[in-house]
């Protein structure tokens, strides 16, 4: 499938109808998921704030999924030198940064009523924050180099370095957290999730994935168009 879609023309033909279709699926899934998340009963401990779960958890999951996609696209771009893979990496980073930011903001908003603090230097929060910094570094590097091909290759190398480092950072932050023994702001254990909550969560997670897929295709399409427009402008200038 990747081989077939690596051809820009074939990708454009495919994404012409796939991007809107996946987008519609995303809208339906997220609408139903949001509706379900408002009608599920309150949690006996967290009350109404439990509804944050359905926005927050899929965003955190997508933050990591997007980085995996970014790493995959970077690998394809570096090894096979597909121009489409470079465009895919470039298109992926802001989406991933967006999901990461959403996860951090909703987590912070949720933390206030539940733990009584906007931010705690918890292992998971810290490593998500580092993930956001990695996304920003990727975008900054891409923006700082004028030559587009070189910028894409440099950013791909950085993405792969980050991909190797992410598990190390995650591990080190977890290790640091157990060393520091923070005040336990987190409820220990808690009830395992009832099916009432599982359904909207699953719908939202798949909806976010579809939203990402659709936006990704739209952004790659616009990259391809931009390159064509640049080529035409160069041709016209003679």
């Amino acid at each position: 499938m990747f081989q077939a879609l690596a051809n820009p023309q074939r990708f454009m033909d495919f994404s012409r109808w796939a991007a809107p279709l996946v987008g519609i699926i995303a809208v339906i899934l997220i609408t139903v998921g949001l509706w379900l998340s408002f009608i599920v009963p309150e949690d006996y401990q967290m009350g109404d704030t439990v509804r944050m779960v359905f926005i927050h958890v899929p965003a955190a999951y997508m933050a990591m999924f997007c980085y995996a996609c970014l790493g995959g696209a970077s690998f394809m771009g570096l090894v096979f030198r597909h121009s489409l893979a470079d465009a895919a990496g470039r298109a992926c980073a802001p989406l991933g940064a967006g999901f990461t930011f959403l996860a951090l903001v909703t987590g912070s908003l949720w933390g206030r009523p539940m733990w009584g603090t906007w931010w705690a230097w918890d292992a998971r929060m810290t490593s998500v924050l580092v993930l956001l910094l990695l996304y920003i570094g990727y975008m900054a590097l891409q923006a700082a180099i004028d030559d587009e091909v070189k910028a894409a290759r440099a950013a791909s190398i950085l993405a792969l370095v980050g991909l190797i480092n992410l598990p190390i950072i995650k591990f080190s932050v977890d290790w640091w957290n157990t060393l520091h023994q923070p005040a336990s702001v987190f409820r220990a254990g808690g009830p395992s999730m009832p099916p009432d909550y599982l359904w909207p969560l699953a719908l939202m997670a798949i909806g976010y994935m579809a939203l990402f897929g659709s936006l990704w295709m739209v952004r790659v399409r616009s990259e391809v168009w931009r390159k064509r427009a640049n080529g035409l402008a160069l041709q016209a200038a003679g």
Binding site: L133, L141, I168, I169
Partner: protein, 221 residues
């Protein structure tokens, strides 16, 4: 192998020759540490609690300073083009540069780190561990930093860009380095932290040159 030693000697001479070598980084290190009491207050109890940790933070920041010139100078005057064409593989050149960065920057900073930490109020028994952890950690900082330096070749915002690229990657060495000292100060087992710090430094030494060489080839292409 001979070419590698020539490269290493050249890098060391360059680092010492122009710009006073590690003096700039050392001054920056001391200056950053000086701002700490001014920022958090000079009461010994408060300073002593954060002394080893902030010494490590200042160390990470100070090791960023000379990274900008690590590849940029050779890139601008065309030396890097010649090195890429020469018989020594670019990976070995990158390894020599990283090693020289460690010897001329990391090692002097490691010597200064215990002095700064003690001045901030760290206990004297911590001194050997602060030196060793700063020395080993410097290896990781030099080679991870070198990747950022090579990647930002050809961009117009060298220094700040390197910091943005590299600082998130500095998280593990800072955690393990400061963690070892904190564990030792707290009477806990500090060996695992030092072992993990060494592992990070050696992994960065082994893998970093390949990323640096790839980034240089990309910038030169």
């Amino acid at each position: 192998m001979n070419g590698f030693w020539v490269m290493l000697r050249r890098e060391m001479a360059m680092a010492w020759g122009r710009g006073g070598g590690p003096l700039l980084a050392l001054t920056f290190f001391v200056a950053t540490a000086t701002l700490l009491p001014l920022a958090v207050g000079a009461s010994p109890a408060r300073l002593a609690a954060v002394a080893p940790g902030s010494a490590w933070l200042a160390l990470a920041l100070a090791s960023l300073l000379s990274l900008e010139r690590l590849f940029e100078r050779d890139y601008e005057d065309g030396t890097l083009d010649l090195l890429a064409l020469g018989p020594v593989p670019l990976e070995a050149v990158a390894f020599a540069k990283g090693l020289a960065q460690w010897l001329t920057n990391g090692a002097p900073l490691a010597l200064a780190a215990p002095v700064v930490a003690v001045a901030l109020g760290a206990e004297l028994r911590l001194v050997p561990l602060i030196f060793i952890s700063a020395l080993i950690g410097g290896l990781g900082l030099a080679f991870t930093g070198g990747i950022g330096a090579a990647l930002s070749l050809g961009s117009k915002r060298g220094g700040v860009l390197i910091a943005v690229l590299v600082l998130p990657l500095f998280a593990p060495p800072v955690i393990f380095g400061a963690g070892a000292i904190e564990a030792f100060a707290g009477g806990l087992d500090w060996h695992p932290a030092l072992a993990l710090l060494s592992a990070y430094g050696l992994a960065a030494t082994a893998l970093g040159p390949f990323a640096m060489a790839a980034a240089c080839r990309n910038a030169l292409s």
